[in-house]
Symmetry: C2
Subunit: 415 residues, 2 copies
Amino acid sequence: MSNYYHELAAKLFDDIEKDTADSAGVSRPAYSDIETRTLAYLEAFAKENGLASCSDAAGNLIFSRPENIDAKEYILIGSHADSVPQGGNYDGLAGIIAGLLCLLKASETSATFKHPVKVMALRGEESAWFGPCYISSKALLGQLSADELSSKHKSDGRTLREHMEAVGIDTAPIAEQKPLLASEEVLQYIELHIEQGPLLVEKKIPAAVVSGIRGNFRHKRIRCVGEAGHSGAVPRAYRKDAVMAFADLMTRLDESWLTILQKGNDLVLTSGMMGTEPAKHAMTRIPDEVGFSLDIRSQSSHVLEAMKLMLRGEMATISLDRGVRFEMDEEHSVAPALCDPQIVEGLSEAMQATGREPFVMASGAGHDAAVFANSGIPTGMIFVRNRNGSHNPLEAMEISDFMVGTEILFQYLTE
Amino acid sequence: MSNYYHELAAKLFDDIEKDTADSAGVSRPAYSDIETRTLAYLEAFAKENGLASCSDAAGNLIFSRPENIDAKEYILIGSHADSVPQGGNYDGLAGIIAGLLCLLKASETSATFKHPVKVMALRGEESAWFGPCYISSKALLGQLSADELSSKHKSDGRTLREHMEAVGIDTAPIAEQKPLLASEEVLQYIELHIEQGPLLVEKKIPAAVVSGIRGNFRHKRIRCVGEAGHSGAVPRAYRKDAVMAFADLMTRLDESWLTILQKGNDLVLTSGMMGTEPAKHAMTRIPDEVGFSLDIRSQSSHVLEAMKLMLRGEMATISLDRGVRFEMDEEHSVAPALCDPQIVEGLSEAMQATGREPFVMASGAGHDAAVFANSGIPTGMIFVRNRNGSHNPLEAMEISDFMVGTEILFQYLTE
């Protein structure tokens, strides 16, 4: 894409960053006036550039070339306008701007879309504000639960429903779980997003095609309970050391992880929060309790099921070996969402056509795309290289990489 | 020993427990009026029973048969009168009462001691009150440092020196590190103490001979520093996961531990306090920091030196494997204290002579005996079976087991 689009993209990112700046990074709360202002800015830009736009029943904005705004069969390019508190500017916003640039370029060149294209700027994707994630896409597809609708804002304690109504959304049909989108009209859902991991940076590749979104199962706090004792006075054979048992478990899970990867399967595994009990632990006290979280993700539901069994099995063996017990908390799980193989193929061909070796990778983080994919809409994603992860002010996408991703998208839509 | 001594011991333990009871267990703070009261109670009992007594320059009480109070060559039976806050009644006190019973029995029977015997009720052994441990024995041997003397009480913030003076001790010679005890007069130092681990309970043995006191090296907080990242988005190969690195380290140390034990060497190893950083950890964030303590003990200084090297070596390998770094804090170490082989032999023979299979074991916890042993005084210890560890109100020694230990001591002193 020409330098013109590069500069246009830079200006759009800059303007919105300035308008939504926080003491660090940007804050565009879900269903807030700031989010509404970002949508209004995008709508004004679209109108100035001859594009059509309209709102939907979930408060999202839809853009298209004027002749396509009422199309009954279309490809939907979607991404979210909100950010986490003090987040980066690109997570979400990049996908909307990429879609808008594709519409503009199609208007200004002789290229034509294979199918009508609509671009959707979604509200409320981030879980940071109310707890639930993918709020808008769930609402559109009639999947927002009563619990989610009555979840409370992290700061002001008002419910999601109140916040939705405050920005003008009629929440009655959402509460009744009526689909607000005619999903049979959506031929495909495509989302461009910054990569939230380091793979493209490490591999020196500006953009990639996504094969699917990892599902996961999570435990917020599993307890490993052993027995306290004097650190100097209890021989190894009589210990029930919860820290040693936890170390065993992590080492064994790590070994299984390596084996699973070596066999070509997908897996990531994290214990992000763990520790002995500050109220009773001491340097000279054999630790009788460790609490720890687990977050296990894979693109394959078979791998996730195998890991659930593996986890129970290792815990059972370690309990016998070490004289400890593991107390599980509630398991939360999300099914993996596979991208449509034909779309993956098509996006790979588009990548090739723009002069780059196709690269396909899994998405570890969740996206609105997962909701569309799991609702039966053929779905695809493009990742753009990005440094320093996301959900923090250091998030760093190069506009030139963004243009590579946008070019792949444009190529896919027109070829 | 006859039922008379059994009941006498029970009464002494009971009286002192009642006098020093706290809301849970007993509290006999080092260099406090309560500790002074316990010494005064014991002195009154000794006098009533025809024993001689005197104070020493460190505020300890010495008991003996009247003809031995000025003996210039003697065996010293020592133990401490203080307890930890809300501790058990037997830790320390058992050794004093055992000594007193031996003096009484020698007075009341025809048995004669091989050497004159003095029994010392020591003050201030527990580190819980001021930080330093073995305060009285260090003071007696001219080894209490200026830092230790100016350490502050855990509750009132007054220094150890002030507390010593408040109970009538002249601290000037202690500050000058002048020995207050003519150590060349002490032929042997013998201490009876409850076992603070579960070995005798597990082995169903009422008492044991101690081979030595484990030395140790300790780290209060080592940091393992990796790199944060999105738990779903960073593949295994690009992670610098501090929790996985910590688990590796503990698993490898545990493997070395097992090997060292299998070769017949002595070792215990504990990470009693560890965890990710609550200020920044999250279930979906790859942990970039783990802090952990280490307490590694052995009777062998060679094993301790080997473990120091092993620790550094494993950390270096894991740093390479995992892309993390380990930041060491200051190392604190205490040399192992070996009991005198002839005393171990003699106490074993005494155990045999009282009709029990000799059993020799290491002491994992530290004792005043370590200070005497490391000052060149031939030292021995007897352990008495005790449930539930020590330093807590659940500490549980049976008087009948205590009588077995006291009998071994009496046999040793007279035979």
